[in-house]
Each structure stands twice: as structure tokens, then as C-alpha cells.
């Protein structure tokens, strides 16, 4: 049986969805097959088992889609899923329309309900028209256009849908009033929701703290000096590095350098970013001289990092002069060597070419300044180590030896104390701490003897992932170290005890491999989507098409096309019915529309007697008499009587008929 109303509603809903999501042509191409299926006389025979298969196929697609969306966009993936609902559920509704059935078995949708076929209970069935309609309407809300028009549209759709299921007994005025009341109430509620949300957001924003992703602020970085308890950063993978050669020692990738240390903060008082023009579509050069040096075998790493927002500082080898293969919108460089990229959120991958010449301006006064709070402590230590009498290289060696022999690595903090006391506590009493301590101490200590230094933060790349075949750095691999200007160039100094990485990795969770796998999946998909639009796309599309063809082939070989033959009740017998042109039928049609419907087995007289509040019942019964004679008496009516009959009917039709109360 065809439900024209439902297909019309679905078409309207699909158009609305297309309008809201800028997908009008897909919307039309989804609606057309459904409409066509309504009008053809062919029908595909789809058994219950095939419905099961279609449902499973849909669920597989659904699941894949969810995986892709969530792994690339995490929580935001849910909105992509929302917008794609009409596609995702399409196979099921199309199957219902192609099969020209009213409903599909409920157990196709829920595997838990699939029982052995010997079960004698009747199979529960579900008509997919209205659930699909609801899904399309909710999906339409994913677009964000014209809120008020959208509300009018869904109100109209709701009104049409409710009207199609309206029972005759409900008076139209009551219904319309109720509907108007609901629509206005809905309007008030949605306004209220909007207001409530903004109020809530204001409240909540004071509590929000972004600890999940550490966004590097190139202007300042806070040292985790004041936290009591164990400092533990997560195992989340932040950086991935692909290298042609095996790394012999940990690779340090720099994100930013800082010069001034005040009140527990390393900051750059005067940092300015200069925009760098790309040389080609995806290439930026930071150091012309290095770039033109014409290296036949340039050293490069392919580095990937995650952007939460639309710009961020990227970890780079110290001597980076060129980055390549990154579809960023812009790149900026500051005088301390930090590179800021503008790029859409997600995984960002770039090739970094580097040499020995570190990126960054020559040292200035700020690189030698020590804040007065720390001066006494550091000078005291410098004297103890007898640094003043040594050459810069010797100083470096002494300091390195000092830290190596006397200090150990620890993430724990025990006592709460103010910043400068903490440094003293570190240097003289506890003699253990995390990398920031070591880096800060080294940086400041070298300054006492006039060596310009900068505090540098970034990642230490040590872990090789067999799964990914590249190096990975996690949140806990974030590291700080010192760069010192010695002998007309900047060199890297890392005095943190080398055991720091193994120590941190000792607490790894047992589910870490799974989390890494998940991370890699998301990374791969993100990279594939953003970086290799051309060739891989094609391959995937071919695969999808093959899968779809396979499923439909399975479907077709099991089903048959059946032509529906329209049989009308009157055509089945060869007898022509005498009196089938009786004038009374005009009346009966009218009565059917206005009043109580005649049951299949009711004779006309029983039906007439059932009509209530009918002051013309007597006339009706007289007419019925004539009608009966016309139909069931083989003798029939004379022409005169027939004419009288017709006149009588016409008179009755014209007279005001009391409407149903």
C-alpha cells in the first residue's frame, strides 16, 4: 500500500535538510528514488533476511562513519554525524520503498531480537517512514541557517504530519487551537533555552581551564613550580617524527625560546612576530642563506603536531631553515626562532629541513639579565663552582658535571614555598627536580659568567613506535633545556639527568597500546584527509563503490521483480451489476465523507439507521426504498419512478445538511 502522504512529508523534510546544510542537490537525489518508487508498478521482492542484511550493511557504514568522525574531530564529530543522518539511514528506507511494503521486520534493526524462525509469535514490524522523517528533520538542524525560518518550517512539517494522523472525531477547531498553542509554547521555550545557555556559559567560563592540550604561548611559559604532589603529564601523543635515519640520541625539537625569568615565569618582554611569505604554495623559507647553500642531501624530518585551534607554534629542529609540504595559510617567525603557523585544526604535518645553524637572533641584553631575586643564590653557586675563572667551554663542562654528579630527577614536589626559595631549595637542599628546574638553573647559572642563554621548551623525541614506523613524543615528553651562545653560535645544553624519560614511562598504563592505536588511526585519517586529497581519495571511492555493488548484487540475486497487478473489486466478476448508476450513490459518497463510515458488511439500511442527529432520516429511508427496488428487484423501476428518484436525491443534496457535531 502506498503512503503518499508520508513520502511527500519526507520529500519536504529532505528539501529542508538540503537547504540548511547546503546540500540541495544531494537532497533531491535522495528524494527522487523514493518518489519514483511510489509511482511505478514494479516491486522488488525483499525477504526478511534481506532486510536483515541491509540493516547490517547500514550499521557497518554507520559505525565506520562514526569512527572516522570521532577520531578526526573528537567531540565535534558528532555534528558531522548529525548532518549525515539522511545518508546513513537511506538504504533502509529505500529498501522499504523498493519492496513496496508497508513496514519492515523490527528484528532487522535489532540483532538481539533475531530469533530462530521456528518461533510462532507474530513478527513485529515497523514502518520506517515516520522514523526516517524524524531523523531527517533532526538532521536538518545541523545546519545553522536562519533560525526563525527553520522554526517555521519544522512547525509546518509537524502540522502536516499531525494532520495526516488526525482522527475524524477531533473537531478541526480544537485541533488548530491546540496546534497553535503548542507552536507558540515551543517558540517561548526555545527562546528561554537560548537565554539559559548564555547565562550558563558565563558562569562556566570562569571555571574552565585548558589542561588537556598545552598550547604553547610564545610569549610566556609558566614553570610548574608551585604544584604540590607528583607532576604527571599524560601519555597522549603530541608529536610524530619521521626520520630516514635512526636517532642515536634523543632529538630535541624546539617550540619556543624565552629570555627573562621573573616570578617563576620565563617570558619574552619584547617579542614580535614577522610574517614570512611562502615561496610556493606550501613552502616557507626562514633562513635564505641556508636554503641557498645547495645541499645535495638535505637533512629533514617529517614532523606532525596537533593543532587545537587555527594557529600554533610548531616544534622544529633548532637549525630549521625551510619547511615544506604543509598547506598552511600563513607562517610567522619571531626573533627567538619560534615559528607560528596558521592552519585549520587537526594534525599538521610538515617537512623541516635543517642544518647546524640555529634559527634565532643574536643575543641581546636580556639574554644576560638575572632578576635580582635570584642573583645572590646564583652568584654564590658560581663562586662555589669557581666558574668565574674558567673559559666558557670549561664553564659549560663544569656546570654539566655539577648537575650530573649531584642531582637526580624527580617529578615530586613536597613543600610549598615561594619561587626564589624553591630555586635555592633545588640547588642546595633537595638536589632533585624535573627538567624545568635543570633548564632554569643552567640558563641562569651561565648568565652569571656572562654567557648569553635562553630557556627553550619543546619535545624530546626518543620513543620509536613500531606500529607507526616513526618516532613519537607524548605529553610527558615535553622538555625544557638551555641554549647558550658560545663561540658565535647558539648551542644546545641539556642538563636534565638522562634517566628522566625512562622514569616517566615507567608508569605507563596497560591500555596504552590501545590508546596509541586509536591515536594513530585518528592521525592517519586526518592526514589522509588533509594531505592527500588527490590519489587516495580515488582509491577509497573505488573501494566504496565495489562494496555497494556487492551488497546490491546479493540483494538482487535473492529477490525478484514482481509486477503489481491492479485489480479493482468490480472487475473480478463478469457480471455487470444492475443499478450501479443509482442516484443514491451520490448521497452515500457525501455521507461517507461527512459522517460515520460504512463497515464492510453493513447494508445501507443498517448504516443509515446508525446516522445520528439526522432529521432527514425519513427522507433517506424513502430514498433507500427506491434504491433497493432499483438494485435488487429484477423488475426494477419504471422510468418515471427513476426520474422521481433522481429529483428527490438532488433536492436532498441541495438542502442544508446539518454538519457533524
Amino acid at each position: 500500500m502506498k503512503d503518499y502522504k508520508a513520502s511527500a512529508l519526507i520529500t519536504l523534510a529532505l528539501l529542508m535538510w538540503g537547504w540548511q546544510n547546503n546540500a540541495l542537490s544531494p537532497a533531491i537525489s535522495l528524494a527522487l528514488p523514493l518518489l519514483i518508487a511510489q509511482w511505478v508498478h514494479w516491486r522488488l521482492e525483499i525477504s526478511d533476511i534481506n532486510f536483515n542484511r541491509i540493516a547490517d550493511f547500514t550499521s557497518v557504514l554507520f559505525f565506520l562513519f562514526i569512527v572516522i568522525q570521532f577520531s578526526t574531530k573528537s567531540a565535534h564529530g558528532i555534528f558531522a554525524i548529525l548532518a549525515a543522518l539522511p545518508y546513513l539511514f537511506y538504504p533502509l528506507i529505500l529498501a522499504q520503498y523498493l519492496g513496496q511494503v508497508e513496514n519492515i521486520p523490527l528484528h532487522s534493526l535489532f540483532v538481539s531480537m533475531r530469533k530462530k524462525p521456528s518461533d510462532k509469535d507474530e513478527i513485529e514490524r515497523i514502518n520506517l517512514n515516520y522514523p526516517y522523517l524524524m531523523a531527517v528533520i533532526i538532521s536538518a538542524s545541523a545546519g545553522l541557517k536562519h533560525g526563525s525560518y527553520f522554526y517555521i518550517c519544522i512547525a509546518a512539517l509537524a502540522a502536516l504530519s499531525l494532520y495526516s494522523i488526525r482522527s475524524r472525531r477531533v473537531k478541526i477547531y480544537t485541533w488548530i487551537t491546540l496546534l497553535a498553542l503548542s507552536i507558540s509554547m515551543g517558540y517561548v521555550i526555545q527562546n528561554g533555552l537560548k537565554i539559559a545557555q548564555s547565562k550558563f556559559e558565563i558562569m562556566a567560563s570562569t571555571f574552565i581551564e585548558q589542561m588537556m592540550w598545552r598550547n604553547r604561548d610564545p610569549d610566556k611559559t609558566r614553570i610548574a613550580f608551585g604544584y604540590i604532589g607528583k607532576l604527571k603529564l599524560s601519555d597522549q601523543i603530541h608529536v610524530r617524527v619521521q626520520s630516514n635515519e635512526t636517532l642515536i640520541e634523543p632529538l630535541l625539537l624546539r617550540e619556543a625560546s624565552y629570555t627573562s625569568f621573573k616570578f617563576g615565569l620565563w617570558i619574552n618582554d619584547d617579542s614580535w612576530f614577522e610574517s614570512v611569505d611562502p615561496t610556493t604554495d606550501k613552502e616557507w623559507i626562514f633562513d635564505e642563506s641556508s636554503a641557498t647553500a645547495g645541499n645535495t642531501r638535505p637533512e629533514k624530518y617529517t614532523i606532525s603536531t596537533y593543532f587545537k585551534g587555527d594557529r600554533g607554534v610548531i616544534p622544529l629542529p633548532h637549525g630549521t631553515y625551510r619547511i615544506n609540504n604543509v598547506p598552511a595559510t600563513e607562517a610567522e617567525l619571531n626573533q627567538f626562532g619560534a615559528v607560528n603557523l596558521g592552519m585549520k585544526p587537526g594534525w599538521v604535518r610538515y617537512d623541516a629541513y635543517f642544518d647546524n645553524e640555529m634559527l634565532g637572533a643574536a643575543p641581546g641584553e636580556a639574554d644576560l639579565t638575572i632578576h635580582k631575586n635570584y642573583q645572590s643564590i646564583l652568584m654564590k653557586l658560581a663562586n662555589e663552582l669557581d666558574l668565574y675563572s674558567k673559559t666558557p667551554n670549561e664553564v659549560i663542562q663544569t656546570v654539566e658535571q655539577f648537575f650530573r654528579e649531584n642531582f637526580s630527577y624527580s617529578l615530586e614536589q613536597y613543600r610549598s614555598m615561594r619561587g626564589k626559595n624553591r630555586l635555592e631549595d633545588f640547588l642546595y637542599h633537595r638536589r632533585e627536580g624535573h627538567c624545568e628546574y635543570f633548564a632554569t638553573a643552567t640558563t641562569l647559572l651561565l648568565r652569571t659568567v656572562g654567557i648569553p642563554t635562553r630557556y627553550t621548551v619543546g619535545y624530546s623525541i626518543q620513543e620509536y613506535s613500531l606500529l607507526e614506523k616513526q618516532y613519537i613524543a607524548r605529553a610527558r615528553d615535553a622538555h625544557s633545556w638551555t641554549i647558550a651562545y658560545v663561540g658565535d653560535q647558539w648551542i644546545v645544553l641539556d642538563n636534565t639527568p638522562a634517566v628522566w624519560a625512562p622514569l616517566e614511562s615507567a608508569d605507563e598504563n596497560w591500555w596504552q597500546p590501545i590508546a596509541d592505536l586509536w591515536s594513530w588511526l585518528g592521525y592517519s585519517v586526518s592526514i589522509w584527509r588533509d594531505y592527500s586529497k588527490d590519489q587516495n581519495n580515488f582509491a577509497i571511492q573505488i573501494m566504496l563503490i565495489i562494496v555497494i555493488i556487492y551488497f546490491f548484487w546479493r540483494l538482487f540475486t535473492d529477490s525478484r521483480f514482481i509486477k503489481i497487478r491492479q485489480t479493482t473489486a468490480l472487475q473480478k466478476s463478469n457480471m455487470s451489476v444492475p443499478g450501479s448508476d443509482s442516484p443514491l450513490y451520490k448521497l452515500t459518497n457525501l455521507l461517507e465523507e461527512r459522517g460515520i463510515k460504512r463497515l464492510n458488511e453493513e447494508t445501507l439500511s443498517t448504516w443509515f439507521l446508525r446516522q445520528e442527529n439526522n432529521y432527514q432520516q425519513r427522507s433517506l429511508l424513502t430514498l433507500l426504498d427506491l434504491h433497493y427496488r432499483y438494485r435488487f428487484d429484477p423488475v426494477g423501476l419504471t422510468t418515471g419512478e427513476l426520474e422521481e428518484f433522481e429529483d428527490h436525491v438532488v433536492r436532498l443534496l441541495d438542502s442544508p445538511y446539518p454538519s457533524r457535531q
Partner: protein
Amino acid sequence: MTGKEIYQKLYDNIGNVIKGQSGAIRKLLAAFFSGGHVLLEDVPGTGKTTLAKALARSIDIQYHRIQFTPDLLPSDILGVSIFDPATQTFNFHQGPVFTNILLADEINRASPRTQSALLEAMAESQVSIDGNILQLNKMFFVIATQNPIEFHGTYPLPEAQMDRFAMRFKLGFVSTESEVMILSDQNKQHPIDTLLPCINHEDVLTLKQSLHEIRISDELKRYIVDIIRATRNIKGVQHGASPRASLALMKTAQALAIFDGKEFVSPDHIQELATTVIAHRIVLDPEALFSGVTAEDVVTETLGNTPVPI
């Protein structure tokens, strides 16, 4: 007098005695005039005997009542040849079956042999005894009753023989008001005792004759047959109704048409009688019996599924 008038007089006359059973009286008269027999299945005390008597008295025709008992012999019904020593010949003494209206009370208490004696007589309208064939009266109408309460020691009529009855219905208990009226009427004496005939033998024959002239369209004949045929295909029915049922339905519908003063049959007449005429001919299979399906339900369902000509 017209057929309708004859019917009306008879109806009112009987109505003086039997209160609150208008539908039953109408059906009974339909069967009577269409030449069929009636099976009343009812609890004791609802007035079956009174009804038969009232009908007989209203027309001034012969009436006999047989109380069936387990030791009833066929000869008790049909008659017996008795040797007369004086004339040295056997004289046949007619049994109670040679009458116009026969009330066979509690037909299910007699042995099957005796039952079949009566049923054969009903079917053939003649009796063969000692090699002689004797015809029954032209106007021969049997009202048989069955008591549904007692199954103990009874021989229910075999299903094949149920077909011989044109209709089966029950009188049932009347409404409160009617029962009060019964008490008032029978306070002093039974109204049946003072009942006088209102029509005569010829009137009955007139009505029966005019019954043959009632017209019925092919479409309605087709409708009757559709209903009967549909009963054969319903789930749970072992045997549906036979063409005898179609015939009975048509004839009784014609009778109703006369009663309503019409000259042709209408679908309402057919529907009014369908259950009474068809239900007792349907044999349900044991499964259906155990799941609570009754023959009446089957007929109602058939009526519901067969589109009625409008």
C-alpha cells in the same frame, strides 16, 4: 388477504401468548412458511412447547407432541401395524408423525435409531412401514428441541443430520419487563387455553404460494452463495455449509420479504437470517472447539468479510 397481513395476524396472535420473543417468532414463521424445520436448542422452561402450541392453535391445524425418551422406539413415532384378530389383517395405526405440527421434545434423549426414524420422515415426507409407503401431510412442520445442559446419557444429533433443519436458534430468557408481563398474564389462567385460530389452512397455502413469486436478483443469489462458500474456507472449520444451506437461506429470506410486504429480497433479509440458517451446519475441528471458537463466530466472521451489495 395479502401475505403481509396474514403474517401480521399470525404474529400478533402468537404474541398474545409468547411475550418478549418477537425475533424468535419471526424466525419461526419464516421457517414455517418456507417449508423448513426448526431446531430449538434451549434450557427448559423458556416456552418452547407453548410456542409450538400457539402456532398450531392460531392456524387451527393438527398438533402433536412427542417426548423423546431413551426407550422410545421408531414405531412409537411412525406408527405400528397391529394385528386385528377379527379381520385377520394387520391394521396400520398412524404414529404421531402424521400431523401438521410436530413438537419433538428433547430429541437428543432418544437412541440414534429412533432419531433417524424421525429425521428420515422429515427428509422424505413419507414413511415406509411393512413395505407400505405412506405420505405425510403436505403441511408438515417439525419443531425439535435439544436441552444443552444434560450431556449425560444423551445422544446428540449427528452433524450430518443437523443439515435437515432449516434453522437453529434459541429462545432464551426474556427481558425483565416481559417476564413481569408473563406473570401478570398467567395469573389466572394460561393464555394458550383461550387462544383462537386467526387464519385458516387456505391462508397458509396462499402465503406459501406467494412465496414462490418473490423475486430475488442474481446478485443477491450470488451473495448468498458467496457467504456459504466462504464458510468452507475458514480456519478451524472441518466442514462448511452445503448447498442445502444456500437453498434454505434463500427461501427463508423470501419469507421475510413477504412479511415485510416487499416483492423482492433485500440484503438485510439475508443478513438477518444468515447465522440461524448456517451456524448449525458447520462442523468445527476439535482444535477450534478447544480454543473457544463457536460456529456463530464463524458465520459472523464470514458476514464481516463478505462485501454486501449496496
